[in-house]
């Protein structure tokens, strides 16, 4: 009888077609983003202001048209994917590191420390974090790494709670007592003995975090506080469509980048849900 996370993953995804499809689409998107220069038909930042070059509808030369500065949208979407996905992954990594460390310490030590740490989390959770994100992004004018740091630093609370809850119950298990009896340090118990037990939960959570991060980054860039020119992401490509006239004249400039965000986020969500079904049948809603 085989077992292990990878085996469960394989078996479940064999059955769960939707999650498997989501995974395949995600791989295709990664592939396109990584090899953006190969698939791009035009220079994504090349501006052509001639009247017959701007706001072109989809044609053979420009698969999905050109924007208000005559840039090829298909090529921009390929390169924009890089920033969007990169910010998503970086944010996820930062969120997981902060959240897991915070939750692990809080859950493992328990007692007064846990109470105070969770009080702080509750307070942060009662604040719409987009306010803090907008302030930081508006004042710092960060590059994509900065944006990932800002979003990561304001969205780790739920991860921390999740990990803390697991640690609270896990630390009562016998293997932890055994480890303590052997005189292992708290640090070793947390990272070597306890952490591997929650890795499935963390990976599921991480997948969903990427989805959220991609959404938040695109919203931020849409509002004009995110990625600044000459860098661009899917979200900032929609930014100019805020003007009704522009939306009316060239709806495709808003439609396709938004569709890309939607599909990517949807796939991450489906994939994450597939992982949950595979690894944590208890969490399933019947």
């Amino acid at each position: 009888m085989k077992s292990g996370l990878l085996y469960d993953f394989w078996r479940a995804f064999h059955k769960n077609r939707l999650a498997a499809l989501a995974g395949v689409i995600l791989l295709a998107i990664f592939f396109l983003a990584i090899f953006a220069p190969v698939f791009a038909t035009h220079n994504p930042t090349y501006i052509r202001l001639e009247q017959e070059q701007i706001k072109l509808p989809p044609t053979a030369a420009h698969f999905i048209g050109t924007d208000n500065l005559g840039r090829d949208i298909w090529s921009r979407m390929l390169f924009g994917a890089r920033i969007s996905l990169l910010v998503g992954f970086l944010t996820m990594i930062i969120t997981v590191i902060i959240g897991v460390a915070y939750g692990a310490v809080s859950g493992y030590y328990g007692g007064k420390l846990d109470f105070m740490m969770m009080c702080f989390v509750d307070i942060l959770l009662s604040l719409p974090t987009i306010f803090l994100v907008i302030i930081l992004a508006a004042f710092f004018k960060p590059d994509f790494f900065g944006i990932a740091a800002i979003i990561g630093m304001t969205s780790w609370m739920r991860t921390a709670r999740l990990v803390r809850g697991q640690f609270l119950s896990l630390k009562e298990e016998e293997f932890v007592m055994a480890a303590r009896a052997l005189g292992y340090s708290n640090c070793r118990i947390i990272f070597v003995h306890l952490l591997p037990n929650v890795r499935a939960l963390i990976i599921i959570n991480a997948t969903l975090l990427i989805a959220q991060a991609v959404l938040l980054e695109s919203a931020l860039s849409f509002l004009g506080f995110g990625v600044q020119p000459p860098q661009f992401s899917w979200g900032s490509m929609l930014s100019s469509a805020q003007y009704i006239v522009f939306l009316k004249e060239a709806p495709w400039t808003a439609f396709f980048p938004g569709l890309a965000i939607f599909i990517t986020v949807l796939c991450f969500n489906f994939f994450g849900e597939g992982l949950r079904d595979a690894w944590d049948p208890k969490l399933k809603n019947y």
Partner: protein, 329 residues
């Protein structure tokens, strides 16, 4: 019991204090400072900026300014906007009703759509509808609200020309131009047609998560003994679901609604921007761009107060719906 609410209230004020300290520090340690937006203006010299900073009291050390801010805020004075020179509280109170109007309308849309979907999914588990609802809620949670908003504007405002693309009311709208008999309907439609698109966009993610939550909470309740007993006693299924189960299934949802409030405010920021809705979120965005510190602090604090009061309300509702809950201890 009174003791418990006293403690809740103390926690509320402590939370507000921490939030104010945190936001103040965040704004304070950000690079540039309040006068940074004038740096690139050639008509404003360094001397002008120094004078302006002095006039605003910005030359004093940050901790002192925090205490001044705190003292004034406790007395109900949130300071003066750097941009307009008007009291921050006035500016916010002008905008707050619009935001609350949008959120209330959207809240009711979410409830009216999410709860029946959740109930039906739970009572018809694994039916086609259940699967569609599950997929639909995923779509709702994954849709970028600004993109969905733009699509709606394109379809309903530009293409079909049914609804206005933005704003809250037609400036020259005059109800007295209509006959008395239909006037209420005209007024109602005038408000609704502006509200409809932004409210739907704002309720989207709520519908997604609340309907799923309602489903699983309903399933939890239905599997309990007292429901089986009711069924065994021959109570009709409709009555079992709507009379016996619903109330208990709703209680966890109330808590979730309270927890979702911050997300609701966050969604309002984006939605207001798309639909040019003259609410607090748009005020925040322009204040962030202009480095209007006082307005930013004011909006954060007002929002925090509303969210914390909302949570308190959810707590009270929970007790009302489920009298078993006893917090002694």
């Amino acid at each position: 019991m009174g003791n418990r609410y006293l403690r809740r209230l103390a926690t509320l004020f402590f939370s507000l204090f921490v939030i104010s300290l945190l936001s103040f520090a965040l704004i304070e340690f950000s690079p540039g400072g309040a006068m940074a937006r004038y740096v690139e203006n050639p008509n404003i010299s360094q001397a002008d900026r120094t004078r302006m900073a002095e006039r605003f009291g910005l030359d004093r050390p940050a901790p002192l300014r925090y205490f001044i801010w705190l003292r004034n805020t406790v007395q109900g004075d949130l300071g003066t906007s750097f941009m307009t020179g008007r009291p921050v509280l006035t500016e916010i109170l002008e905008r707050l009703p619009a935001t609350l109007k949008l959120m209330t309308f959207s809240f009711f849309i979410s409830i009216i759509v999410a709860i029946p979907i959740g109930i039906y999914s739970a009572t018809h588990r694994h039916s086609l509808f259940d699967h569609l609802a599950a997929t639909g809620s995923f779509l709702g949670l994954s849709l970028p609200s600004f993109w969905f908003g733009l699509l709606m504007i394109y379809i309903f405002a530009i293409w079909l020309n049914w609804l206005p693309s933005g704003g809250m009311i037609t400036p020259w709208f005059d109800p007295s131009a209509y006959p008395l008999l239909i006037r209420p309907f005209v007024i109602f439609w005038e408000h609704t047609r502006y509200l409809l698109m932004p409210a739907i966009v704002l309720s989207l993610s709520n519908i997604g998560s609340w309907s799923r939550y309602m489903r699983s909470s309903m399933l939890d309740v239905i599997s309990q003994n007292y429901i089986q007993t009711a069924r065994a006693n021959g109570v009709p299924e409709r009555k079992v679901v709507y009379k016996h189960a619903l109330r208990n299934a709703l209680t966890p949802l109330v808590t979730l609604m309270g927890l979702d409030l911050p997300g609701f405010f966050a969604g309002a920021v984006v939605t207001e921007q798309i639909f040019a809705w003259p609410g607090m979120g748009r005020l925040f965005i322009s204040a962030a761009g202009n480095r209007d510190y006082q307005v930013l602090m004011g909006i954060i604090m007002i929002t925090a107060v509303l969210v914390l009061l909302g949570n308190l309300l959810a707590d009270l509702m929970y007790r009302f719906l489920d009298p078993r809950v006893n917090y002694e201890g």
